[in-house]
Every structure is written in C-alpha cells, then in structure tokens.
C-alpha cells in the first residue's frame, strides 16, 4: 500500500501521530486532485492570494491616492489601454492598481471574518451536539436567534455605533455568519457522538474536553472545512456589498469600495463599463472559486459521490 | 422437459467499479426444481447476494454477467424491456436484505402492496386490487385492517411479513429471499420462517433462500449450496450436508455452530484462522487453500472442479478427485 507499511520499532508515539496526519493528508489530496473543478477553484484562489501578497511589487500603492494621481496627471475615465489595462476611474486612478490592492482587503476581511465565524460556530455546534439535552436546547435557541437577524439592518446599526470601516464589517459578518455553520456542525457532532467509539472513550475514563478534542473534532473537520469555504464565499460577498453601500473604510481600497466609487461617479450612465466590470469580475471569480472548492471537498467527504 | 423453475449455468459476474473490475462470482451452476427450497449459504464477500440480485437483473448496468440464467426455460440475460418486466415480480420476486427499511414511511401499507399489483396489471380495478391486498395480508397472518397503518406502526416481524406479502402479490413461481430474517430476534425469526414454510407448501413456491445463518437453512431448505469466494464449494441435501460434509469449508462452517447439549462443544469454540478473501486479492488455485486444514501442494495451483460426493451432492475439492486419474 503506502511506504509506511513496515515501520521500524523505534518510532515514538509522536512520530506515529505525525505520520498518520501526513498519510491522511496525502490521501485527501489524492482524492481532491481528481476533481477538475476543485483544482480550478484552488488555482483561482491561489492566484488571488499571490496577487494580494505581491501587491507592492505589482503596483504602486500611491496609485490609489487621489492626490498622487492628480499630481501625476493621470487621465480621467480612460478606457482600457496598454498603459492602463483596466482603464482609469473618475479621479484618474488605474483600476488595475485598485483591483490589485483591493484584493488584499477583500481577501483579508473575508478570511478573518470567516475564521471568527467558524471559531464561534464550531465551539457552539460541537458542544451542542456532544452534550445534548439542556445545553443543546439553550445553544440552539441562541443560534436560532442569530440566524434570523437581518444583516443589513445590523450593519447599518453597527456602522452608526462603531463608525464605518473594516472592523464594523468584520463584526457584522461574524455575527451574522456563525449561526448556520453552527447548526450544520452540531448535526455532525451529534452523529459522531452517538457512535460507539465515543461511548468507549467515556468507558475508559476520558474527560469530556478530551473526548471533544480527540474524537468529535477530528471527525467533524471535513464538515468544518466545507463550512469554512462556504462562509468564506459569503463573507467576500457581504464585504463587497457593505463597502459598496458605503460602510467600508474610506482610507483603504477594496473591490467593494472600488465599485462604490464607480457608482457614485455615475459610471453606469456614462458607459464607463471597465470601472464596474473588472472589480465585479474579481468578486464573482473569488466567490465562484470558493464554491468550486466546496464542491470538491464534498467529493472528498462523501465516497459515494466519487464513483460517479 | 425442464423441471427446474430456475437454472444457472456457469454464471460469472464482475462488477465494474471506478477502481477496476471486481469478480464477485466466478462460475456458478444451480438448479432450483419447482416447489423446492434451495439455500444459498456463505459468508461476507462470497457472492451470494450478488447471485440473488442477478437473477432478476437488478445489478448496475455496467456489471458483466455471463453464462445463462434460465427462468422456466427462458434465458433472462437475453431479455429486454417488456419481457423482462413481466418476469420481474410476475414469475419471480425478491425479498431484500433489510427489507423492513424498504417500506415508504409516508405511505400506508395497503397502498404499497397495491402498487406492486398495479405495476403488473394496469387494468385491474381498485376493488379487485383492494380485495387482493386483503387476501395477501391474511395470507401472511396480518389482519386486513392493518393495511391502513403506516410502516412505523408495525413491529420488525410485521414489516417483514408485509414484504413477503408484496413478494407474493403477482403469484410468482419463484421467490428469492435475501437474508430475510437476519435482523430479527430468534423468536420472531422462527415465526417468519414458519410462515414462509407454510406459504411455500401451500402455494407450491420455489424459494432461493440466501443467508449466512446455517441453522436457519437446515430448518427450511431441501437442498443447500455453499459459496466461498465467488464459487460453489459444496452442494447437497440439507439433511446430510452438515452432518456428513465433504468439503473442508463446509466442515469448518458447521463446526462454528456449537451444538447445545453436546458436552464436547463446551469451551471448545471452533473456527478458521484468517478471513474470507476479498475479490481483489484472490488466492491462486483453490481460493480456500490458505485457510484449509487439509490443504496439500496441488491446492495452491489447481482450482478444483466439482466432484460427486458420497451423499449425492457435489463438492469442489481436490481431495474428492484424488481417486480419479487425471489427464
């Protein structure tokens, strides 16, 4: 089978644990690799991340400042050309520069918000599924409550209280996104907790916290990963929309704020399509890519989908 | 004139999975005379369920099935469309493994049985259908009024009876029962077996009884065929096959069921080392040789054909062929 079939007797327990993780990881990757859609999605996201990381090398940050471009006498509302592949906006800023630097904010906000939402969602979901009974009842009422909060209204309220900016946006996304994954993770946690090996863990005297960490969490990781990807897609969408509506940080540029500027400057009526299409396409592509990755994850998780 | 209601001739079945072909059945011959009960026994992976499903052509499209499956003289493997549908349920029906879970939870029992009837006779009137449903329920010793209930209101044993009623809906000549009593308690199992035996005698049904539970087989079957790793290893009379086994596997299998009351079986549980082979890792020669207590050198090279046994059956063991001269 694999190269680890006949280990030497001298391996320590820690080595065994790590070799197990490595084997499991390789096996998952081997399955993931068979999905063309999954690879495409992964490639797109990786491309965006690379662009975001290499932003300083790819475009001059000053190119996002109105004062700078005014000094540079960059053309206003110029359609795409060799000098400005994505054209320029109302103030003369290169849309390409906006998009490259915007990737940073959009992806970062998306990632932080997703992480926050999943940390809360996992903690609540795993506990509710494992403990059951009253704990489950209370946690699920809480989850229900948060699931129905209209996020737009909440966003406006928070913007009024906390002021505009990325912190507000991240907060809104976390508050409104943790509930759905919590439900899904709870279902999985409950299923895992009902299996005999969890009862066995109790039978050998394990503490609840140990059981959750060693048994429930690892067997729920696939679902958690998938939820992370799904929540990520919606986080990017929400960030873009909120920025578009004016709640973004006026001092930083994201895909959403780029769209906001474009609309405020009447790009639609003036026919300056490049100011809308390019940032819009990035948002769509990012969300699409994450959805595709989610689809491929499903194939890894569900063996029955694989044989088709 | 063929007396057998079902005849399998050199049937080989290979599943086509994404990971490659899997030979589940590697050549089986079986005869089921009209009105008799033939048991198909074996452990996990031996191919018995595959055979059961193949008889009604219920295996996935891509599966390779070669050989002949003759249902009342006609080869099912050559049939298509309407002809095939007429055979399914009309000539032969099947009671699946875990059948109790095959009932639709949101439909009443009588509706589900009626479905089976109407699928085969589009012109039947609702009144006649309802009458037939009532008849069938009475046949399986359930009061007709229980037809108005939903599956969850019935116990495991009662649900199994409903499955039997459904299988008999179109008056088949052959019923294939795939592990029909496996999930039931011994007492309920006895009740269901009793019922099956009565119905079989009353209606003159031929039954192919597929199970891994040998004690059940000796109760109800006339003849028993034992499968191992996709092949038939022994076939013979139900009364003598375990008391006078010819194949070492049959002997070992029989030994795994301790006889209560026999002091020799106290504290001496018998079994075989190792596990039944997976289709993907079939041993060379006789598939049983790695676990066989009396295997000798030729067993690893030659796959034995079937030789006659002293008790009137056949067994695929080189030891039986020892006395014959081989070309």
């Amino acid at each position: 089978m694999s190269a680890v079939s006949a280990p030497t007797g001298e391996r320590s327990a820690r080595q065994i644990a790590w070799s197990r993780r490595l084997r499991a990881g390789k096996a998952s990757w081997a399955i993931y690799r068979t999905s063309g859609i999954g690879l495409a999605g992964l490639a797109i996201i990786v491309a965006f991340v690379v662009i975001a990381l290499l932003a300083p090398l790819l475009a001059n940050k000053s190119g996002t400042l109105i004062t700078y471009v005014a000094e540079q006498h960059q053309p206003h509302n110029a359609p795409p050309s060799l000098a400005y592949p994505f054209g320029t906006d109302h103030f003369g800023r290169s849309v390409l520069t906006q998009v490259i630097w915007g990737a940073r904010v959009s992806l970062l906000v998306g990632a932080i918000a997703t992480l926050g939402a999943l940390l809360i969602g996992s903690a609540i979901g795993l506990s509710a599924g494992f403990f059951g009974g009253r704990v489950d009842g209370i946690l699920m009422r809480l989850t229900d409550w948060f699931m129905v909060i209209p996020w737009l209204g909440l966003a406006l309220v928070l913007a009024a209280i906390m002021g505009k900016g990325l912190v507000s946006i991240i907060t809104v996304i976390v508050i409104t996104s943790w509930a759905f994954p919590a439900r899904v993770i709870r279902a999985q946690s409950w299923a895992v907790s009902s299996r005999p090996f969890v009862e066995r863990a109790r039978a050998i005297g394990s503490r609840d916290s140990h059981i959750i960490a060693t048994h429930i969490l690892p067997n729920s990781m696939p679902i958690i990963f998938t939820q992370m990807v799904i929540t990520g897609a919606s986080a990017i969408y929400t960030e873009s929309l909120l920025s578009f509506l004016g709640m973004g940080d006026p001092n930083s540029v994201s895909w959403g704020t780029t769209l906001e500027d474009a609309f405020n400057q009447g790009a639609l009526t003036a026919g300056h399509w490049w100011q809308i299409v390019f940032p819009g396409m990035c948002i769509i592509l990012a969300i699409l890519a994450l959805t595709m990755i989610g689809y491929a994850f499903d194939q890894v998780l569900n063996p029955r989908l694989r044989d088709r | 004139m063929n007396e057998s209601v079902l005849s399998l001739r050199n049937v080989e079945i290979t599943y086509q999975l994404r990971s490659g072909p899997v030979p589940a059945v590697r050549g089986i011959d079986l005869d089921v005379p009209a009105g008799s009960v033939v048991g198909l026994a074996g452990e996990s992976g031996c191919g018995k369920s595959t055979v059961g499903n193949a008889i009604l052509r219920l295996l996935p499209e891509e599966t390779d099935v070669t050989g002949q499956i003759l249902m009342q003289g006609q080869d099912i493997l050559l049939m298509k469309g309407k002809e095939l549908r007429a055979v399914r349920w009309g000539q032969a029906s099947i009671i699946f493994q875990g059948a109790m879970h095959s009932l639709d939870p949101v439909k009443r029992i009588d509706e589900q049985i009626a479905e089976a009837i109407q699928a085969h006779d589009a012109k039947i009137t609702p009144k006649a259908t309802s009458q037939r449903v009532g008849e069938l329920l009475e046949m399986v010793r359930l009061p007709a009024r229980r037809g108005r209930e939903y599956p969850h209101q019935l116990s495991g044993g009662q649900k199994q009876r409903v499955m039997i009623a459904m299988a008999l809906a179109c008056k088949p000549a052959l019923v294939i029962a795939d592990e029909p009593t496996t999930a039931l308690d011994v007492m309920v199992q006895a009740q269901v077996l009793d019922l099956l035996r009565e119905l079989q005698a009353e209606l003159g049904l031929a039954v192919v009884f597929i199970t891994h539970d040998l004690s059940v087989l000796t109760e109800i079957c006339d003849r028993i065929a034992i499968m191992y790793a996709g092949k038939l290893v022994e076939e013979g009379d139900a009364d003598t096959i375990f008391t006078q086994p010819s194949h070492p596997y049959t002997k070992a299998l029989g030994g795994a069921f301790p006889r209560i009351g026999n002091l020799e079986d106290r504290f001496t549980p018998a079994g075989l080392d190792g596990d039944p082979p997976l289709p993907q890792a079939m041993p060379s020669g006789c598939a049983f040789h790695p676990r066989c207590p009396v295997a000798f050198d030729r067993c690893a090279i030659e796959d034995p054909e079937r030789f006659p046994t002293p008790t009137g059956g056949t067994a695929a063991c080189l030891l039986l062929g020892e006395t014959r001269s081989r070309a």
């Binding site: 327990a13 065994i16 005999p196 090996f197 039978a203 | 009351g261 504290f267």
Partner: protein, 330 residues
C-alpha cells in the same frame, strides 16, 4: 476468593420519556420505560457469565450500567465489595478495572486514529506508568495480533473484521482490567471467524484470570464459553444457573421456548411464542411473561392463574445454583 468480584443488587434502570406539549397542557407525564427491573447478580473471580435474551430485554442497558455509562434509578453495583458511586474519581477507578468490548468493531474504533493511538488512549487517560510503546505492544500481543509493531500505524479500516475485534479487545486489555463486559462480541463477524475470537476470550480468562460478562442473544455462544447463564425477559432475570443445567434442563417457559427454536439445541418440539415482547413502558401486571406464556394458556387451574396474573414471581432455587422466577415451577 470466595467473595464475588462483581455484584449487582436490586438494580433498576428507567428511561424517562420526553414531556411533549400535549403532556404539558394536560398535566400528564409520559410513562417511563423500565429497562432493568430489580436485577441481582453475583459474579465470582475468573467466571464467565452470559446474559442472554432478545432485543429489548435490558441486557445491554444492564451492561452499560455495570460500566458506569448509564445512570441507575436505584440499586447498587459493587466491585470487590465496594459500592460504585457517581463521584468522578470513583467512576475513573471503576473504569480502569471494568472494561467493555462493543459489538461492532468498525463503529467502536475512531476511524481517524491509528491502531496505536486507539490503544494508547486508555493508557494515557488512566495515566498508567511505564513505557507506553511497550504497553501497547503487550496488549496487541495478548490479543493475538503479532508482530504487534506491524499494526501500530495501520487504521482500523485497513485490517479485517476479526483483526478489528482483536484491536478492540487489545484496547480493553491495555488498561489491565479485572472484568471485561463484552456486548455481543462476535455477532458482527463471519461465522468462520467467530471461533477464534471466542477462543481468545477463553484464553484470556485462563491466562490472565479475567472475569467476563458476555451479553448475547446467541444461546450457542453461551454454551461454548459461559460458566453460568442468566436469561432476561423485559428487564428481569427469569432463569439463572450453570450453563449446562439451564440449557439442557430449562425450567422457565421462556427459556424453553427460546431453546426450542434454536436448531442447534436439538429440542424435540418447537414452541413458537405468539406476538412480540411488549413495550417496556407498558409492562404487564403480575408475571410479565403471562401474555405469551404457553404454560398459562394450557393452565385450567384457577388459583395458579390468579397468581400469574397478579403477582410477579421471584427467583427461587430449584436445584444447586439453578434459580427460576416462575409460579408454575415448583
């Protein structure tokens, strides 16, 4: 060694139903299911006791309560004369000394843990001294998996069914228990594989002096490995005694019926009981077997009939060590 190792005294275990909205409105409480209804057992050192019965008789609940995995309504579990309390420390100590082997080896082992980690977990949780690697290897060896180190890094699903059950047994042995509770230890295995696992259990009793409680529905299994057998029906023990006695000279009509439908017992006549075991929330008055009792159906004698319908019979001795709970056996 004359003192019993494990004792169960007058154990009652109930499963309370959920109060539905209609119950709240009407002020009613849903009936509780009596899973175990006053069970007494006394298990000696090195003994193998089989607890037999059909599904719903309470045998699995009894096993789980002995393990401390199920809360009891009343009664006591005693290990070496000391009563098991609900305190955390007590439970922890108890769980080192009494271990369980589940029915389905595939479900009983975490698919994400290697065989090494499955067995090491118990050692770590109970903080057993000494070299962990050696302990794991020893447990695997005792369970017949040799060479042990070849199994360390494999996953449970990478070995066969029989080997998986050995892993489960090794995981129990790693804690050096005194009692093993085996819940249907071979029912999920192929017939030809059962024998070797049963042989292993017998060897463990002989070599390590382990005491075992084997839960099973298979009377043949009890015949093969049990010293004594207790037959349960709807939460009560109806017959108890040495296996040979009980299975060749059954006294309770339920035991007789069960044996009669098992072909391996070679009983002359099949007694097929009507219907199925009743709901544990609606246990019949008097002797709970009376709705299905074939003896009662024949019994024309009024006074005894009245007893069966009104009074629940107690376990009474009919021969040395052989007890039966039935009014009609005297």
């Amino acid at each position: 060694m004359s003192e019993p190792l494990l004792e169960v005294r007058d154990l009652r275990v109930l499963f309370h139903g959920h109060k539905s909205i209609t119950d709240s409105l009407r002020g009613t409480t849903p009936a509780a299911a009596v899973a175990v209804d006053g069970v007494n057992l006394s298990i000696a050192h090195g003994e193998i006791l089989a607890i037999a019965g059909e599904s719903g008789c309470g045998k699995t609940t009894l096993a789980r309560t002995i393990m401390g995995l199920q809360t009891k309504e009343s009664g006591a579990i005693l290990l070496d004369g000391r009563e098991l309390s609900t305190s955390r420390r007590d439970l922890r100590d108890h769980r080192k000394r009494v271990q369980i082997v589940f029915q389905d080896p595939a479900g009983a082992l975490n698919p994400r843990q290697t065989i090494y980690e499955v067995i090491a977990e118990g050692i770590r949780v109970q903080k057993l001294p000494g070299d962990e690697l050696e302990r794991v290897a020893a447990a695997l060896s005792q369970a017949g998996l040799r060479p042990p180190k070849a199994f360390f890094e494999r996953f449970p699903h990478e070995v066969s069914g029989g080997q998986r059950q050995r892993v489960a047994i090794a995981a129990a042995l790693a804690l050096e228990p005194e009692v093993i509770v085996a819940d249907e230890p071979v029912s999920a295995l192929d017939a030809s594989v059962k024998g070797e696992i049963l042989q292993l259990l017998l060897r463990l009793r002989d070599d390590l002096g382990l005491t075992m409680v084997v839960i099973t529905h298979d009377l043949g299994l009890a015949w093969a490995i049990a010293d004594r057998i207790a037959v349960m029906y709807l939460g009560k023990i109806v017959e108890l005694g040495p296996t040979e006695e009980v299975l060749t000279h059954p006294k309770h009509p339920y035991t007789e019926a069960l044996l009669s439908v098992v072909p391996e017992a070679g009983r002359p006549q099949r007694i097929i009981l009507t219907g199925e075991a009743p709901d544990p929330t609606r246990i019949p008055e008097g002797c709970r077997f009376n709705p299905r009792c074939p003896l009662l159906a024949d019994e024309g004698d009024q006074p005894i009939r009245v007893r069966c319908l009104g009074e629940s019979p107690l376990l009474r001795s009919v021969a040395s060590g052989h007890e039966v709970a039935c009014h009609l056996v005297d």
